[in-house]
Amino acid sequence: MAIAKDHELHTRRQGRNVGLGVVLAAFVAIVFGLTIAKVKGVDVATGYDASNGIINEGISE
């Protein structure tokens, strides 16, 4: 049976590690989600032509 109480330092480290883990997981999720959005056919070639105010439709695949 563990008797020792965690020092505040360990609590801080654990908090930091958990926070970093969440950030990394979120980053993976974001990259995944962005990849899906791009691959699913967001027209990346669509551009806004500022010189004459028209939207250029890109060449779709």
Partner: protein
């Protein structure tokens, strides 16, 4: 009060996760998030929601990275001023090396990810914004000239322009106007605060207008910048991002704001001290509502436009 218990944090720099978050100046990030989001949403190009989310997120992270690098560079003056003594570095929770590493890493990640999520024009603008805030403002102007807040305010004005560029891949009159609204708003907003917040900038050798040119000159500067802001803010109403709703709001808010600036200009320190700077505090609160409502109105116009209700 001194804590006589053994303080491991100041000796080892062992910060908690919240201390690293504090390094990014989250309250400043909220302004960045909102204005960048508006800049992106008012652009006349539809953007996938996931791209919107990631673009705004990495613009915000870029802003946070600037904050971390600012805290790294200004650690010496932050330790001197009461207002900033509780920041992560002066309080010993985060070391300067850690702040520098986090700032540089997040800067690189935010710029690269914005380039991949949106486009490299937006990424370039974000990189320039970070450079401007850290090098031009923090390292150079802040300790050199009382006009530091004027020029340095440009850094806070870039986000809507970056948002617009994330959608369109370019800069336009509309995005420049959104930039100008925040740019011209920053000096009266900040100098009004400087009039009623007793801060020891002079102890930290940071030139503040209230100290270098006096409080009367500061009141005059507030009025001048407010008068210069009004035509810019109202003028945006006549562009493609404006509309009748925005125009009515801008006219009303700017009349109110100018009146507030005139009231500040007509007072002297004796009157301000007598009522605890009631007018200056009211003007400062109004400045927060001012910016929120202007960008909110732009967003409203963009939201109503597809239904034939917004815009011209």
């Amino acid at each position: 009060m001194t804590d006589t218990s053994m303080d491991m944090t100041s000796e080892t720099g062992e910060a908690g996760f919240r201390d690293f978050v504090a390094l990014l100046k989250p309250r400043v990030m909220s302004l960045v998030v909102f204005t960048a989001f508006v800049g992106l949403m008012v652009a006349p190009v539809p953007v996938h929601p996931m791209v919107v989310f990631t673009s705004v997120l990495f613009i915000a992270i870029g802003g946070g990275a600037s904050g971390a690098l600012n805290m790294w560079w200004d650690a010496d003056i932050d330790a001197v001023m009461k207002r900033t003594q509780s920041r992560p570095i002066p309080s010993g929770k985060v070391t300067t090396g850690e702040a520098y590493a986090i700032g540089m890493t997040l800067s690189a990640i935010s710029v690269i990810m914005l380039g991949l999520a949106a486009n490299w024009v937006a990424a370039g603008l974000l990189a320039f914004t970070i450079f401007f805030y850290v090098v031009i403002y923090t390292m150079w102007l802040k300790r050199w000239t009382p006009q530091n807040i004027v020029i340095g305010g440009a850094a806070g004005a870039f986000p809507p322009m970056i948002g617009w560029a994330a959608a369109t891949g370019s800069i336009s009159v509309e995005s420049v106007l959104m930039f100008m609204i925040t740019f011209m708003w920053t000096p009266p907003h900040f100098w009004a605060l400087a009039l009623f917040v007793k801060s020891d900038y002079d102890k930290a050798k940071v030139p503040m207008l209230t100290v270098t040119h006096g409080r009367k000159a500061t009141r005059t500067h507030i009025l001048i910048y407010t008068l210069l802001l009004a035509p810019v803010a109202i003028g945006a109403g006549f562009t493609s991002i404006g509309g009748p709703l925005y125009l009515v709001l801008a006219l009303g808010m700017n009349l109110w704001f100018v009146k507030g600036a005139v009231d500040i200009w007509r007072r002297d320190d004796a009157q301000s001290d007598a009522d605890s700077h009631k007018v200056e505090r009211k003007f400062f609160k109004l400045s927060l509502i001012y910016l929120f409502l202007h960008f909110g109105a732009l967003l409203l116009e963009a939201t109503l436009r597809p239904f034939g209700l917004g815009g011209w």
